[in-house]
Amino acid sequence: MAEITFREALRQTLREALVSDERVVLMGEDIGAYGGSYGVTRGLLEEFGPDRVRDTPISESAVVGAGIGAAMGGLRPVVELMTINFSFLAFDQIINNASKLYYMSGGQINVPLVVRMASGGGSQLSSQHSHSLEGWYAHVPGLKVVVPATPYDARGLLKTALRDENPVIFIEHTALYAMKGEVPGEEYHVPFGQANVHRPGRDVTIVGYSGSVHQSLRAAAILAEEGLEAEVIDLRTLRPLDIDTVVESVKKTNRAVVVEDDWRTGGFAGEISSLIQERAFDYLDAPVARVCGADVPMPYNKRLETAALPSEEQIVAAVEGML
């Protein structure tokens, strides 16, 4: 076991993939000479050279599309998009091509592509740099959407993503890059579609993913002081979604709060809420609560930005509101 950062866990995993599989090629803006805008790919260009670690022009659509084409042609590409906000330039490629190729070709051609994106706000980067829209990708059949919240899961889920035969959207919350956690030295991986119960409890189920898992854990600590034991579930992947773990928990606690950074209206928390009420209606003592990002473009001002994102206090208030 070693304690390493989320960023380092990703870096090591990418490095091992480059070593062990000649077909792995990294592509993205500033992943090479600059060392990666979040430092995930630091040192990899020097070690593997410009054919394996490719700095690209600012052409998100063509770069993702080239990643798709390269995957169709037998490579295992990993494309980095600087943030999920920029990924919209590649929406056509991800949705009209990557997610649909296997289906519309009648199973002839699959796309083993990983697209990594930084997500999340809180650094005063304002409206075009700060949103979390993994829910939009989770909406699309044919994609897999992965949202690790710990260094252990970052490595384990990335390993699974690199072996998947389908396009995987791999979301890295910017607030987590420096987070440290235990990562085993021996071989392991984390399968998709398996949520993790970070903290058992009997009074309320708090469901989060990516950045919101840690807020949920902090909220659980506050609630514990009030004598309330919250069960905190980390979804780990949005597609496939492990709703069974959530439902089992709600059957025990009878209350659920879903927490995510994304905009409230039409967000993925709505999907989770709907699934909970479909599967555990008779067990609910209160409607499922959602604590989400405010329905506003992310403001620059620090206090406004904080108000636009979910907080521990909001989670605690939501729980208290359902007692």
Binding site: P57, S59, S61, A62, A66, I68, A71, S105, G106
Partner: protein, 331 residues
Amino acid sequence: MATRARKSAAGKRPDRAQFADLLRRMMLIRRFEEKAAEMYARRKIGGFLHLYIGQEAVAVGAISTLSPSDYIVSHYREHGHALARGLEPGPLMAELFGRATGVSRGRGGSMHLFDAKRGFMGGYAIVGGHMPLAVGLALASSHLKNGRIVLNIFGDGAVNQGEFHESLNLASVWKLPVVFLCENNLYGMGTDVRRVSAEPEIHKRACGYNIPAERVDGMDLLAVREAARRAVEWARGGKGPYFLEAVTYRFRGHSMADPEFYRDKAEVERWKAQDPILHFRRHLEGEGLISEKEVRSLEEGVEAAVNEAVRFANESPEPPPEALYEYVYKE
């Protein structure tokens, strides 16, 4: 009777049999498309149908210069490309009929034909959206050193899409083996290319990306073939992408629903007079490279093949409803 034309050392002079095959392929495309139009009118084919009639010399001329392991990435007016590549008419017609025996198992339809074994990698409906895929396939073959080049076919409508520009730039800066082939049939659906393009001479755009480019008469099979040869040789030699603009014309509307208000009938007739199949046939007859009897035999063969394709499609089963979720993910 002329003697059999000999192949030159550079392999530039196809022989009699090769010429006949080129003619046959164009005739097959023409007959297939005419039959598809008939089947569409009879509601055997649904959705959109974009016919290739009039453009046959581009598909056959260009694709005949590829090797069997090369890739083709095409757009939605692709039946001619598929047939030129050697996809069988039966499974093609079955795909148009939505049958399980179709090339895309009935999941794709007219705009999404795939045959991975023959390197035919689609079939795409987003104008210009397939171009980055071609760049990526070229990246793979360059990385794997497997010698496979990519022929990327698109229309005049694609050249103002952002992905066109991004793709040309990326292929050029990474020196990837892509032949970018623009089929300029002068209209993007109902819009004359000159009304919406700051530079309507499409091949000129390539110089902005340092890509060598040519414009060729798309109604002349041999001219297309010669230009494509140069392009393929360039790409295969590791020199990067090449750009071809083939000026051609579709004799029918954009799709079956198009009333063609935007173009004048006299113009259509002028282009029909340059029918590429007639043009090539007359050339061969003039050079003594084909006889009337041989032409008739080709016509009969093509007629039989197309009728057989319809029979095959008609008798094929549809995919069962329980297969709806098949192929969403690969295990």
